[in-house]
Amino acid sequence: MNNRIDQRFAGLRAQGRKGLVAYITAGDPDLDATKRLAAAFERAGVDVLELGVPFSDPLADGVVNQLAAERALKSGTTLRGILDAVRALRAGGCQIPVVLFTYFNPVHRYGVEKFVRAAEAAGVDGMLALDLPPEETTAWEKQFESSTLRLIYLVAPTTPDARIAEIAKRAGGFIYYVSREGVTGMQQSLAGNIAAMTAKIHRHTRAPIAVGFGISTPEQARAVAAHAEAVVVGSAIVDRIARLGGSADMVGQVAGFAKSLVDAVRG
C-alpha cells in the first residue's frame, strides 16, 4: 500500500476518525498560491487535497468553480504546470495526498498513458474525471492499475443499486458520493438522503466514501461525517479564495477555514 490516499484512510480508520477533503482549483489565483495553500492545508490537518484542473467548459460546476477555472486559465495554468507544482510540493517535503479533479479533455489531450506516468512521477495519488463514467474507462483502466495512481469514481443519488455494485468493484482510493443532483456550489441545507445512500454504498464495498457537493459549513460537514469516512468541501473554500484574492493573508485565512472544517469532522 504505497499510495498516500490509501495510507491516509487506513490511518483514519485505525484512529476511528473522519477525514476532510479540501478542493481548490489549481492555479487560482496562480500556481504559486496553490502550492502555498497545499502546504498550509497539510499543516491544518486536511486529509486529502483535491486539485481542480481548470477547463474552459466546466459543465458540472456551479458559478463559484466556473469563475475559479476562468481565473486559473487566465493565470496560464495548464495540466503540465499543475504536475510541476505537485512535483515541487513533494520536493519540499509536503506529503498531503493529492487527487486531480478534472474534466477528461485536458487528460485526453495530454495522452492518458503519458499522463498516468507523469502524474505518478510528480507525486499525484489519484485522478477523478467528472465526465468519465466507468463505461468509458475500460480502455484505460489497465494503465491506472499498473501505476500507484488511483482512479476514483463517482456515485450519484440517481445511481441505481446494480450500478453502485459495479462501480464499487472498480473503485480505487475512495468512492466520491455526489450528495446532490446538480452542480458544485454552496448550499443552505444538506441533501436529504445522504445517510440512506452511503449505507447502500457501504453494503457493496469496504472502500471509504467521501461525500461532496454543496457542503459549505463546519456544521454541515460534521453532520455528513456521521455517515461517511470523509467529507469534501469545495466551493465554500474557493469562494473565500475569490474574495480574499491576492491579499497578504489569503493563505492564512483560507487555511484557518480549512482547520475549522477539519476540527468539525474529527469531532
Partner: protein, 399 residues
C-alpha cells in the same frame, strides 16, 4: 456497406468516436432514454404517431424543388433544393423535436429544456412544448440572443422561458453547458431535447434517426423526378443533424458524393472559424469524443461564424467516423461566401435561406459549374432565412 448504417454500438460508439462522457448523475437518465427510445422505435404505434405529427403538423414530406434559374445561372449540374425551410417553424429542427417530445410524454417528463444557437431549435422545442402543454426553458448565449432577436421573441410568444447565458463566449457551447447543468439538477422531472446529432449517447443516434426522414424522402423524390440518384448531396454541418439526416439514406449508394460544409468564418486561424475537420483534433466535449477545436492543453478554442447555428467547437461523432471511412467529404465556406450565396439564392430563386443553409448553397455555387449538365446535385435547404434578415441588413448594404 450495411455496416455504415448500423452504427453505433450499445454504448454509442461510432468506431473510436461518440460514447457517454457525462457526469454520473446523468448516466441513469441517459440509459433510460436509450432504453425508451429502443422500445418506442420498435412499436408501430409510435412510428404512426410520429409520422402523423410530421405530416399533419409540421408539413412533411417537404418538396424537392428543381431550382431551374439557379441551375441556368451556374451553368452546370441540375440543382435541386430539399425544402426543409418550408417546414413549420422554418427549419428541419422540428423533425427531431416531435420525436423527442413523444418520448418525453412516454417517460412522464413534463418539463422540457433545450439549448439553442440560431434559435431554430429553441423555437421548434418551444413549439412542441406548447402543443403538449409542457413547461419549457431554453438556454441561449447572450451573443446569439442579440443576433437572433426575432427567434428569442418567437420562443417567448410560444410560452417558453429564454435564459441568457453569459459565460465564456456566450454562444451555443455555453448554452449546452448550462442546459446540462439544469438537467443534472432536475433530471428526474425534466427531458433535455438536445437539438443536434451531438452530445452523449443516445442523442447522436436518436437525433440522426429522427432526421433521417429527410434523406428517405429525398431519395424517393429524386428517383421519381430524375430516374436516377444524384451525383452529389450538399449540406451544412454545425453539430450535423440536417446533414446526417439527408446523407443517411444514401450511405450505401457509393456513387453519390456526400459533402458536408462547415463554417470557415473569417478563415482557418484559431478563433476565426468553426471548421472542426479543417482545424480540429480528437477530443472530448459535452458528452462525446469527436473532432474538437482545442489548443495544445486541451482547452476549447473560441469559434466564429456569421451563422449562429454553425458556431460550435465540436462536430457530431458519426461525422468523424464517416469521414474516417471516406464516405463523407468535408469542406468549408467562409462568411463572405455564405453571405453571397444568401443573397444569390434570394435574387435568383426568390428563396431566402438561413445563413447556416447558405453555407451549403455556397459550396453548390463552386461545385455545380464544374459538373456536367446531366448530373444532379441536391442541396439541403435546412432552414429559412427570416431570422437572419436583421443581421444581414447590418452587413449587406442594399440600396
Amino acid at each position: 456497406m450495411q455496416k455504415l448504417q448500423s452504427q453505433p454500438d450499445k454504448q454509442g460508439h461510432f468506431g473510436p468516436y461518440g460514447g457517454m462522457f457525462v457526469p454520473e448523475t446523468l448516466m441513469t437518465a441517459l440509459k433510460e432514454l436509450a432504453a425508451e427510445y429502443d422500445r418506442a422505435s420498435k412499436e408501430p404505434k409510435f412510428k404512426r404517431d410520429l409520422a402523423c405529427y410530421l405530416n399533419e403538423y409540421a408539413g412533411r414530406p417537404t418538396r424537392l424543388y428543381f431550382a431551374e434559374r439557379l441551375t441556368r445561372e451556374l451553368g452546370g449540374a441540375r440543382i435541386y433544393l430539399k425544402r426543409e425551410d418550408l417546414l413549420h417553424t422554418g427549419a428541419h429542427k422540428i423533425n427531431n423535436c416531435l420525436g423527442q417530445i413523444l418520448l418525453a410524454q412516454r417517460m412522464g417528463k413534463r418539463r422540457i429544456i433545450a439549448e439553442t444557437g440560431a434559435g431554430q431549435h429553441g423555437v421548434a422545442t418551444a413549439t412542441v412544448a406548447a402543443m403538449f402543454g409542457c413547461e419549457c426553458v431554453i438556454y441561449m448565449g447572450e451573443v446569439d440572443m442579440a443576433r437572433q432577436a426575432l427567434n428569442v421573441y418567437r420562443m417567448r410568444l410560444l410560452g417558453a422561458k429564454v435564459v441568457g447565458v453569459s459565460a465564456g463566449q456566450r454562444t451555443l457551447k455555453e448554452a449546452i453547458s448550462e442546459a446540462m447543468r439544469d438537467w443534472t439538477t432536475n433530471v428526474r422531472t425534466t427531458h433535455y431535447i438536445l437539438g443536434s446529432a451531438l452530445g452523449s449517447h443516445p442523442y447522436p443516434m436518436m437525433v440522426r434517426d429522427f432526421q433521417s426522414c429527410i434523406g428517405r424522402e429525398a431519395r424517393r423524390q429524386i428517383l421519381k423526378k430524375e430516374g436516377k440518384l444524384p451525383a452529389a448531396i450538399i449540406a451544412c454541418v454545425g453539430g450535423g443533424s440536417n446533414s446526417i439526416g439527408i446523407f443517411h439514406a444514401f450511405l450505401n449508394d457509393k456513387k453519390v458524393r456526400l459533402i458536408g460544409v462547415e463554417a470557415g468564418g473569417r478563415g482557418i486561424q484559431p478563433g476565426d472559424h468553426a471548421a472542426r475537420f479543417a482545424g480540429g483534433s480528437l477530443g472530448v466535449l459535452q458528452g462525446t469524443r469527436t473532432f474538437v477545436l482545442q489548443n495544445a492543453d486541451g482547452q476549447i478554442e473560441l469559434t466564429h461564424s456569421v451563422s449562429a447555428g454553425l458556431d460550435y467547437a465540436a462536430v457530431g461523432p458519426e461525422h468523424a467516423w464517416l469521414r474516417d471511412l471516406k464516405r463523407i467529404e468535408y469542406t468549408y465556406a467562409l462568411d463572405d461566401e455564405a453571405l453571397r450565396a444568401f443573397r444569390f439564392l434570394a435574387e435568383k430563386e426568390g428563396i431566402i435561406p438561413a445563413l447556416e443553409s447558405a453555407h451549403a448553397v455556397a459550396h453548390a455555387m463552386k461545385l455545380a459549374p464544374k459538373m456536367r449538365k446531366n448530373q444532379v446535385v441536391i442541396v439541403n435547404l435546412s432552414g429559412r432565412g427570416d431570422k437572419d434578415v436583421q443581421q444581414a441588413a447590418g452587413i449587406l448594404k442594399l440600396e
